[in-house]
Symmetry: C2
């Protein structure tokens, strides 16, 4: 078996362990990793608003996945809809004040979890991996 194939198999295993740790860490705030990613991209987008299709691309799910994910988040007022006067097809998404605070709180846990997950690697090694991953 080639090193490429072996890597993908090992990678799948490691990824599943990482995701479990991250989900466990964020569950304290009542959110999943995917919901955290949504909030992360909203928070860091220039106008704090994004189209649903952009969010889908960013977090690696489909547009309908975004619709279903956002529905409960709107209900508890973490995010809200905003319409684009220039294009009535679009339904822009925005973090509410509460959503912004929740993101900041969750980020603290996420930072802790990240450092825990990657505790055996130096910053140089992480940068190196990040660089290699960027090529994929």
């Amino acid at each position: 078996m080639s090193p490429e194939a072996n890597f993908l198999i090992d990678h799948a295993y490691t990824t599943s362990r990482i995701n479990k740790k991250v989900d466990a860490s964020l569950s304290y705030h009542g959110i999943s990793f995917t919901e955290f990613l949504i909030m992360h991209h909203l928070f860091n987008s220039p106008l704090q608003t994004m189209r649903r299709i952009e969010l889908a691309e960013c977090v690696g799910i489909t547009a309908s996945g975004v619709t279903r994910l956002l529905a409960p988040m709107e209900k508890i007022r973490i995010v809200e809809k905003e319409s684009n006067p220039r294009d009535a097809r679009q339904s822009l998404v925005k973090l509410t004040q509460a959503g912004e605070q929740l993101y900041k709180d969750a980020l603290v846990s996420f930072e802790h979890c990240s450092k825990d997950v990657l505790a055996n690697l130096s910053v140089k090694q992480i940068d190196n991996m990040a660089n290699l991953f960027g090529k994929i």
Copy 2:
């Protein structure tokens, strides 16, 4: 945001893209990545049989996930049940002849896909990443 947190976020994105490519490549054989992983671990286990709980650990899902995943695979005779005379609780899983052939065929696609996914990386870089991933 720390390099660790940034890495996990980028990693999630890249992983989703990798999984999509792998699933697309294996769909030609009518199987998912998870099913491929099951067959892979069965094929490479010393006696070609494993307990469901071992499979669950290997592929990073729960025992009940394994039950549900294997049900259709048994139905189309890719895998079969075998009982352990020493322990009646166990229900061992084994690749059938057809399952073994399917695995070998799927492996060819998986190898192609792996090389394609990692085309921009040298073998040395892949080994390096595999090594770093092993520390996680």
